[in-house]
Amino acid sequence: MRIALFVTCLADTMFPQAATATVRLLERLGHDVVFPTEQTCCGQMHVNTGYPREAVPLVRRHVRVFDPYDVIVAPSGSCVGSVRHQHAMVARRAGDVRLASRAESVAGRTYELSELLVDVLGVTDVGAYYPHRVTYHPTCHSLRMLRVGDRPRQLLRAVRGLDLVELPAAEQCCGFGGTFAVKNPETSTAMLADKMRHVLATGADVCAAGDVSCLMHIGGGLSRLRTGVRTVHLAEILASTEQSGTPSARSAVRS
């Protein structure tokens, strides 16, 4: 299957390992990954901060760039959530009904990684090997905007060598929230402290999630505390095999 990669600006710029892992994983499963280079950013930051008007050209660009593809994947629940639940709204708010309908069409073909694997490609065992104790944080937008449900954990449970430990109070937000972390830093930090306490209580050496934004937040806190717990994107775990070796000791966030 030909699959277009919607890399997301944050993964492209700061966490390319999540995106390269997505490419390696899908190619290993026999698919043809294409990367439309005219893509930039989906505009979520603008919309969520109160700048839907400024997001209009970004939505228009996104729709134009991805419209030719039947299947689009992003290693991010949050950015897929924006495409699915915000793009048409932004277009309608700007009075562009035609863009809204094209945005809805693109949204219908856009999948978060675990959705693509389980629902579209029909695989839960992707042949990965990852000999680590892992806890999984279900990011809010994956959980409640996309309803990916148990899919990521199904995928992780099928990984050889992986010891999956349940995260207490997993469904609670880590406190990132995009500009929330900047506008309300004290509340954000209080939420992060609880999330880290729960991660550390699992005794896991890796905290996994499907969004690099939340991983950046949790990883930034764990790094500051020198806990030794690494944050790793779901795609990186699923891309690992006996042959490839596991992602090096480099964490998503280094101090």
Binding site: V7, D12, T13, M14, F15, P16, Q17, T20, T37, E38, Q39, T40, C41, G43, M45, H46, N48, T49, G50, Y51, P52, E54, P57, L58, R61, H85, R93, C140, H141, R144, M145, Q172, C173, G175, F176, G177, G178, T179, F180, A181, V182, K183, N184, P185, E186, T187, S188, T189, A190, M191, L192, M216, G219, G220, G221, S223, A252, V253, R254, S255
Partner: protein
């Protein structure tokens, strides 16, 4: 567009929000400033965590056993949406039915007018004291302050409201206004402020509730006027409903000669049958019970039973402005259950006072700025990570995250001149719409980060991030560079 007019007022007249200087819809400081103080109080955070954790578990238990919960939520949302769509007609029908059953209906455009109507009614009844059932609407309009200014003593009879009133405090939760206080603190307040209290009062909840019973009993029997809110008003029959637990509501609705009910216009429901939905949704979402201990329903005046004079005050106070916003109006579906507060991770840490308004938590963050106009509560739509837990918990399916984002755009548009943020956002959008500039920007960011600040220490306002978290090092290669080099 056709310009329709009503009573000479053009349909395009700007919506009228709740007036400033009266009532409790506006805080003295922004949410982040107020939250900072709450977060520094470890006792408050322990109390909040304990209370919200307890009620979340209780509520989840009784919702799990209601197999048709999702159907009830959908019906509740649909009934409320239909109600809002024909609100004026339903209010006229309600007025006719209440009047026909011996009640008197008053209309209040805002808090000032509602307070004046109630004060005049109390005076006309010859009373210098009223007993009050817990009511969000009367807190919203600052009725107690207005009555006190007129020499009338309002006595809050709900246990939590009594704790707040005796402690000269502010409510911090819609359902449990003293949620920020634990039993030891409540005992201290009672010992200090409750006349005739036993000095050996224990701090277990049963003993504290018994103390309130003794304290209020004589007041219930000797006060001729009561003031209540309403959970529901049925347009079809003129029936009012108050949902409660302690029996203080029954006391106020039954014992006095005169009853004055102040109700936001959005509390009307079309038919008697509609109550079957809300009486199932509200207790399970709110206190986590299959049914609350007491619900009272009355229609006008019943000869020989209960108050023989009944006044219903229908309150706008900015609600028409909320209704005018097609996206925003869904906030008027709210049945004040407070489930969104109990599941909100921001509320759990910051507490109710940080929201400034009588409506705290996620629903407050979308309701208060609409009632007052965005300028007066501009920080509230940002008091959320958009995690979506509130939307899942809402029994009438108010899409609070969608509303928050909608109101953030209004907050930005209401600013008279560009800000550092708006300039940065415009610049980012400009860059991101030009892939070559964007790629150049990625390289520049890497260089500046590698050149200087490793890991920590960003300039304001971004230092909020690096105060407690490290920022990642930029990678040696962006994804698009890696892709290009394959």
């Amino acid at each position: 567009m056709t310009r329709r007019t009503f009573l000479g007022m053009p349909a395009t007249a700007p919506p009228v929000t709740a007036p400033a200087g009266v009532g409790h819809l506006r805080g003295d400081e922004s949410f982040p400033d107020a939250a900072r103080r709450s977060l520094a109080d470890p006792q408050l955070r322990r109390n909040l965590r304990h209370a919200t954790t307890t009620i979340r578990a209780k509520s989840a238990g009784v919702i799990d056993e209601q197999a048709d919960w999702e159907q009830l939520r959908a019906a509740g949302a649909a009934i409320k949406a239909d109600t809002l769509h024909r609100l004026p007609d339903l209010l006229e029908q309600l007025e006719e039915k209440v009047t026909g059953a011996g009640g008197v209906v008053h209309w209040a455009a805002d808090a000032i007018e509602a307070n004046r109507i109630v004060t005049d009614l109390v005076r006309a009844a010859g009373a210098d004291r009223v007993i009050k059932v817990k009511s969000m609407a009367t807190q919203e309009i600052g009725l107690n302050e207005a009555l006190e200014a007129a020499g009338i003593t309002p006595v809050e009879t709900d246990l939590a409201e009594l704790i707040v009133q005796l402690g000269d405090d502010r409510p911090s939760h819609i359902l449990v206004p003293a949620i920020h206080r634990n039993r030891a603190e409540i005992r201290e307040i009672f010992l200090r402020e409750m006349p005739g209290v036993d000095p050996a009062l224990a701090d277990d909840p049963t003993a504290l509730a018994a103390a309130a019973r003794r304290f209020l009993r004589e007041t219930f029997l000797s006060t001729p006027v009561a003031v209540s809110g309403a959970n529901f008003a049925v347009a079809e029959t003129g029936t009012l409903a108050v949902v409660e637990s302690e029996g203080n509501g029954r006391m106020c609705l039954t014992v006095p000669d005169t009853l004055i009910t102040v109700m936001g216009v959005e509390k009307v429901v079309p038919t008697w049958r509609d109550l079957e939905v809300f009486l199932q949704l509200l207790p399970r979402a709110s206190t986590g019970e299959r049914m609350n201990p007491y619900t009272s329903m009355w229609t006008g005046v019943t000869p020989g039973d209960g108050p023989q004079a009944f006044h219903l005050v229908l309150l706008d106070n900015g609600r028409s402005a909320v209704l005018a916003d097609e996206v925003g109006r869904q906030a008027l579906r709210c049945i004040r259950c407070s489930a969104c507060l109990n599941v909100c991770p921001v509320y759990e840490r910051a507490g109710g006072h940080a929201y400034g308004s009588v409506y705290p938590g996620p629903i407050g963050a979308v309701l208060s700025p609409q009632l007052t106009g965005i300028e007066d509560n501009a920080s509230l739509p940002y008091a959320s990570t958009l995690c979506g837990a509130c939307y899942d918990a809402c029994p009438v399916k108010i899409n609070i995250p969608e509303l928050l984002v909608h109101l953030r755009a209004e907050a930005v548009e209401s600013r008279p001149r560009p800000t550092a943020e708006s300039i940065a956002m415009a610049a980012a959008a400009y860059t991101m719409d030009r892939p070559r500039l964007y790629a150049a920007g990625q390289r520049a960011a890497r260089l500046s980060r590698l050149a200087g600040r490793r890991g920590r220490g960003l300039p304001p306002p971004l230092n909020g991030w690096t105060a407690s978290r490290d920022l990642p090092e930029p990678p040696a290669q962006t994804f698009r560079e890696w892709w290009a080099g394959r």
